[in-house]
């Protein structure tokens, strides 16, 4: 309860602070909330169940494209588009998940990396002229409630934040449930769980599909609630983004939901800090160092602080 209240304050305070001229910072907060939803979803899989995924950007991207195509190509109500953003990645995860969840460790890592690269390549290849290729999809309509379009910075931020809080509460109840204990037991010792006669692959498949659905929801929100109203394969589905999601979970602390959210906001603000530093560092453009920092932070965190940098609440790994 305390963590939820803290999250509410953290998300809604910026509305008051940035409402005037600083809408850019508010939209960064909104972006952070979207990433935080993905971090929560990935934490269920990577943190609690111990299964790596290098294709979460693919699920996020499928969600984003499902929503954008529903709005632009089919002119559907955006709320239906948002439902599609949850259902499409869940379906894809269900189909590819069947063989994938059987794999372990480096085989699982490589398979999910392969899935991520396939989805990215397909989105870029512009199948049937539906995805717009490398250029992406423009002019995505915003979400709307009767009589009001959710198109201002504040209303977008409130919408995404409400979803984030709902997902946080959902994930907390899953983690604390009997099913959540099963997930963590698989993390500790898969063989022990198998020996109890439990269908481990079915548990992993459920987590994989649920995790993909939540990542897709975040992707759908990205389509409808980013101020650009524009998506492309590089911003929505690249392997680099998948690694970014892993960085968020790892630095925030695997098996700490609140930590993952903190990690997501930290990673969202990093490029801004680097941009602020540009021109002040000789020889290199600090913006180019973004991925170097992700890599270095991953290595250093896992070696020196395997529990994560922002361990707020949550259980010990």
């Amino acid at each position: 309860m305390k963590a939820t209240l803290l999250l509410v304050v953290f998300l809604f305070l910026p509305c008051l602070v940035f409402m005037g001229n600083h809408t850019y910072y508010l939209s960064l907060m909104t972006m952070g909330s979207m990433y935080a939803i993905v971090a929560l979803s990935l934490n269920l899989l990577l943190g609690y169940t111990g299964q790596i995924s290098l294709c979460h950007a693919a699920f996020y991207g499928i969600g984003a494209y499902a929503a954008a195509m529903a709005g632009v190509n089919f002119s559907l109500n955006p709320w239906i588009g948002l439902a599609a953003a949850v259902i499409c990645p869940a379906l894809v995860a269900f189909v590819v998940g069947f063989p994938t969840v059987r794999l372990r460790e480096h085989y699982l890592a490589m398979a999910t990396l392969g899935i991520g690269m396939i989805v990215y390549a397909v989105l870029r290849a512009d199948p049937f002229g539906a995805t717009g290729g490398p250029g992406g999809i423009f002019a995505i309509p915003p979400l709307a409630v009767p009589g009001y379009a959710i198109s201002s910075d504040v209303s977008r931020h409130v919408t995404v934040s409400l979803v984030l809080i709902a997902v946080f509460i959902l994930c907390r109840s899953v983690v604390g449930s009997r099913f959540g204990s099963l997930m963590q037991a698989i993390h500790e010792s898969q063989n022990a769980v198998v020996s109890l006669g439990i269908d481990v692959n079915m548990v992993k498949l459920k987590v994989f599909v649920a995790s993909a659905a939540l990542a897709g929801l975040a992707g759908g929100l990205y389509s409808y609630c980013s101020p650009l109203a524009y998506i492309n394969p590089d911003d929505a589905a690249s392997v680099m983004l998948s690694v970014k999601f892993i960085v968020m979970v790892v630095i925030g602390g695997t098996m700490s939901l609140a930590g993952g959210i903190a990690g997501a906001f930290a990673i969202t603000w990093l490029p801004e800090l680097l941009r602020a530093a540009s021109g002040k560092v000789p020889m290199v453009n600090p913006a180019d160092l973004e991925a170097v920092i992700y890599g270095a932070v991953l290595i250093a965190t896992l070696i020196y602080a395997p529990g994560g940098l922002f361990r707020i609440g949550g259980h010990r790994a």
Binding site: V96, H106, L289, L302
Partner: protein
């Protein structure tokens, strides 16, 4: 007929590259039990460093190649020292994420220097050989010959030298080797140096054909990994056969569905992982 032969030849050419990369995966897997996700970056470094050094006035091409391979090997040792060794004892998934971190550091540092695509001059030779109506570029012949020489040299090293035998013993049972009093601290570093050097050589060989940029490493590494899995993780003869098969399948596949080359290659990776994770030659050298 000559068309099929043509695809087969370019498949064997690119497949030799994948075979070398796959061999690198096996070496580090056998001695340290981890899959190095930064393996592809060594390939990229080999190509990019050679490109950079070849622009240094007064340095011959051969010297540029030698220095870049040596530098990559040193970077391989540094990776083992800085990122892998301190995390020993951590779970496999943790080690995988660490090597992903390494690959991002290497990739992005290269990208911070230059984001352009480069090409190296092909090795000297008559432009193309003709063989039963199919043309074989000289570079492909070079790739196959040099690739074969590297693999045979590695095999002789592993088979007939004391260090090589110890490396093979580590593949069998790391604990036993350390119980025998072998200083096993240096051997994982050595295997990283070797696999980085082999990767770098592959990068130098492929650059004249496909060009090289900071982004190429992941893709090359993934395909090399596919070869290693197809051959049975840890088996060097398997890695060679697996790498060749991936190359041939990729060229013939992309001839059938142009525009979806990457999709075909990665679908192949998945097909192998899903159906034969133990590989066609399961077991070790």
């Amino acid at each position: 007929m000559s068309e099929i032969l043509q695809y087969l030849i370019s498949g064997i050419g690119i497949g030799t590259i994948y075979a070398l990369i796959a061999t690198g995966f096996c070496l580090t897997y056998n001695t340290s039990g981890i899959i190095n996700f930064a393996q592809g970056e060594f390939v990229m470094l080999g190509g990019m460093l050679t490109v950079g050094l070849s622009q240094v006035p007064g340095l011959s091409m051969n010297a540029a190649v030698a220095i870049s391979i040596a530098l990559t090997a040193l970077i391989g040792v540094a990776v083992e020292r800085i990122a892998i060794r301190p995390a020993r004892g951590a779970g496999l998934t943790t080690l995988i994420i660490i090597t992903i971190g390494v690959s991002f550091v290497i990739k992005a540092l290269t990208g911070a220097v230059t984001k352009d695509e480069f090409v190296l001059p092909a090795l000297p030779g008559p432009n193309t050989h003709l063989f039963m109506g199919a043309s074989i570029p000289a570079q492909t012949v070079w790739i196959i010959c040099i690739g074969a020489a590297i693999v045979i040299g590695l095999w002789l090293f592993l088979k007939y030298t004391l260090i090589g035998t110890t490396l093979r013993a580590m593949a069998e049972n790391r604990q036993a080797v350390s119980n025998l009093g072998v200083e096993s601290e240096t051997l994982p570093a050595l295997s990283f140096a070797l696999s980085a050097a082999i990767g770098a050589a592959a990068g130098v060989l492929i650059t004249p054909i496909t060009q090289m940029s900071w982004l190429k490493g992941t893709e090359l590494g993934l395909k090399g990994f596919c070869g290693a899995v197809l051959g049975g993780m840890g088996s060097i003869p398997g890695a060679v056969i697996g790498g060749l098969l991936v190359g041939i399948a990729e060229t013939t596949g992309s001839a059938l569905f142009s525009g979806y080359k990457e999709v075909i290659a990665f679908s192949l990776v998945l097909a192998v992982l899903y159906t034969k994770p133990q590989g066609i030659m399961g077991g070790r050298l």
